[in-house]
Symmetry: C2
Subunit: 249 residues, 2 copies
């Protein structure tokens, strides 16, 4: 399964990607996490303070050499074809990062996005493999169709009109690029009133809700892994279960 | 003065832009607000639920016709040269929006960003005019140098390593594109411990701190203007005062 997690900036995309990845790993799946945000911090959410990973934007030549040629991806490339040295291996999870902006004024992130789109599209997964993409904030990646090859798009929203409007835009644009399964996750919930607010303002299927959690703020300040927060892990576990039901219906 | 407000997604950029704009307007300045995020919601933070504004990406032809030709901007164009119909007039504030993604897979936001960069660079301001840009989340806009022509970059951060790392990246990249004045604003502060955390992890000049404010969450749920929250307005007023001192030192 290939899953992309998107939403307005700051809604909790990275935290949910890290927790989902951890839960799939715990049940024995091979997990590939892709940080598709130039300003990504997925390594940090996994508890790695200064991860030394070569970004995918820099491994382009090497990948072409190994899995394709002339810039064209070999169809049906496998996860194992991605060189070990270009991903961080986290006991059952592998992390790839799209890479940042090297210098101010050096250009946009279009080349990296094209590369990630082709890589995800060409990856043929085994039954026990799961790919989870942590998308950039907002909607520009949908113009770029970076996540075109995923089966499921999870859209994270807080209780507030601004992130709900982003969620609705994402749904509209995801359909354009052919993603049929778009589900919502409500995050930072402090009351039943806030759950109702999201339910009233969104007609998409809602997979579940995650509580406002000061423990996660503490974890971010300490630079620890988000899955050390048991409550958050339990709440995301329920969402993962619901996703599996939806996926097979 | 031309100011850009940037930072990780969800740290409160848009709220601070709306509050700063309101405060400058209240003291009699002419304020031009630019929503430079494809997923922008500045209109919403100003209390406009469904603002009908033609995005700048669609006014390109008209601007070229009025202020330049052949895609080249006329130097020293004035705020008054921007057609009234392409901005929302909010009693002393004018709002321009960069525009969203029309269709999934239709491309990136590079053309809009180039347009905004040229527009901001060519605007010759009178003494009583202030331009404030609400940047896209993260750092890609710095690769694009969208805010190249601003004098001041405010970087908003929460108490957490992830948004602090973004702030440090923004500082580094802002220098590359020639922005000398980069200041930090700490937002969503719940304790003295969180203030110390930001101070300990950032060496940039900190202009001030804004409290975690449940009132702003309520306002977002109701779709009201953020400046109806008196506490937030007072805190941003102090930051504005400090900015004026820094600006003239």
């Amino acid at each position: 399964m290939k899953i992309a997690v998107s939403g307005k900036g700051g809604v909790g995309k990275t935290t949910i990607v890290a927790l989902l990845g951890y839960l799939y790993k715990e049940e024995g799946k091979k997990v590939i996490l892709v940080d598709a945000d130039t300003n990504g911090n997925l390594a940090s959410a996994l508890g790695y303070r200064s991860a030394q990973i070569t970004p995918v934007s820099e491994m382009k030549e090497l990948i072409e050499e190994r899995v394709g040629s002339g810039g064209i991806f070999k169809l049906n490339c496998r996860v194992d074809d991605i060189p070990e040295e270009y991903s961080l291996n986290l006991e059952g999870m592998r992390l790839l990062v799209i890479g940042g902006v090297k210098r101010g004024g050096s250009g946009c992130a279009c080349p990296q996005n094209t590369f990630v789109r082709n890589l995800i599209a060409s990856l043929m997964l085994e039954k026990d493999e799961v790919v989870i993409l942590d998308m950039e904030a907002g909607i520009e990646h949908l113009g770029r169709a970076t996540a075109k090859a995923v089966e499921v798009m999870l859209v994270v929203t807080e209780p507030g009109m601004r992130s709900i409007n982003t969620a609705l835009e994402i749904e509209r644009l995801a359909k354009d690029i052919g993603i049929e399964m778009v589900f919502v996750v409500g995050n930072k919930i402090r009351s039943q009133k806030e759950i109702s607010f999201i339910e009233d303002n969104i007609s998409l299927s809602i997979l579940g809700f995650i509580s406002y959690n000061e423990g996660l703020i503490e974890i971010d300040m300490k630079g620890e892994a988000v899955f050390s927060n048991k409550k958050a892990a339990e709440e995301v576990y329920k969402i993962k279960k619901r996703l599996e039901i939806k996926d097979f219906v």
